[in-house]
Symmetry: C2
Subunit: 240 residues, 2 copies
């Protein structure tokens, strides 16, 4: 049987301490119709009748913590190459009405146009970020925390491209940034800033089927896409 031996631990009984469940919750962002969306599931707890909650699950006994959100993503959406980032761990005693559960929150960015995206559960659906007032558990706080972290990262790291198709125009990209940041941006200055970051490759192709003058298409420079693995996990493995 498991036996912990550190000084602080040895005097405490097994029963006392192995009664906290560990879960992960995923804030799964996507981008549709010029709006930032999040994937939610109808709560089946009486306490939260009619409310939605984030997608999450308990961490398996033989599962690395950071594998759990990938599994949740895969089970719920069929997607494997997603961008995931750990944000914060929430562990107040009463955060879950059914018992003691601490949860580690991740946000992920998925391309809703991916051919592999498949949502089978009828209780699972996309919701406009701006429209969400309440969620089950402490999930509104988790959502807000993850959105804030996304906003902080988005100008420094080329991660939002996980929300877009392979090819996109600068206008589409700007619309996305505006949806995430919740503010309007000057077109000329935005273009300068983005171009200066050297993230993009000009494809020398044009938009098609748009009801106005078509814009040039770009893609993310190869080597910059981060997905399918937690960056911090990679960094750790390199550091060992």
């Amino acid at each position: 049987m498991l036996k912990l031996k550190t000084a602080a631990v040895e005097k405490i009984s097994h029963q006392d301490y192995f009664n906290i469940a560990v879960s992960v919750d995923c804030v799964i962002f996507s981008y549709q119709n010029k709006s930032l969306k999040v994937l939610l599931i109808k709560s089946d707890l009486e306490d939260f009748q009619g409310l939605y909650s984030l997608l999450g699950d308990l961490v398996g006994p033989e599962e690395d913590l950071e594998d759990a959100p990938y599994r949740v993503l895969y089970e719920r959406t069929g997607l494997q190459d997603v961008y995931l980032e750990q944000v914060h761990t929430f562990g107040n005693i009463n955060r879950h009405p059914s018992g003691r559960v601490i949860t580690t929150a991740y946000f992920s960015l998925v391309n809703c146009k991916s051919s592999k995206l498949q949502i089978s559960d009828n209780d699972v659906s996309w919701h406009n970020i701006a429209d969400i007032r309440r969620l089950a558990f402490d999930h509104k706080i988790i959502l807000d925390t993850c959105l804030q972290q996304l906003q902080e990262r988005v100008m420094e790291h080329p991660i939002v491209f996980n929300l877009l198709p392979e090819k996109f125009s600068l206008r589409e990209l700007q619309d996305l940034y505006e949806a995430i940041l919740g503010l309007g941006l000057d077109r000329r200055n935005f273009r300068k800033r983005i171009i200066a970051k050297d993230w993009l490759v000009d494809l020398n192709e044009m938009e098609e089927d748009v009801p106005h003058r078509p814009g040039k298409l770009y893609k993310l420079r190869s080597g910059l896409r981060k997905s399918g693995r937690l960056s911090i996990q990679v960094e750790q493995k390199l550091a060992v």
Copy 2:
């Protein structure tokens, strides 16, 4: 007994899931002799003979996650008004040789000149950050992650003052920043930047007992000191 009811959970037995222990680990920084230090304890695990580890403990069944690091701090140092920040949660299966333990890492900033600071355990001692090569468990990675987060926060948020006495000169402050960031700074530019942030109050007092021209003394503007509570916790309570 505890019964989880979400769809993903109900089919799984209690026994399977309540066997992950939850701990916290604290990277306790202080500043002495112009060096950034961290508080470590001699590991008593055979696997890590001769190595040091961070101070941590399991989270109690009736204890909020965020209370645990405050308790560890208090038990180990006697300090209550400390600055604490959650950094990351580490949960690889094999990170602890004795069993499955996930741990949430916090860093804290303590003033080593505080009259309340009291370290009773002979196995607990301060170590120069720069001298640390290996630690027990995955604690070196945790330390590096926390140091990196400290470095990222330090120019934007007035937190380093938790490492200094009430009154300090700009030279002392600059030495501290250099120790944290691991690089040298131009004195004139540093002073401009710090003064521009409007964090400091000129006390109209001078250093004493220094073997050179004394510098002016400053203190942190009142209202800016953050300690005794996790800032994220405070933000959450405001957000509810």
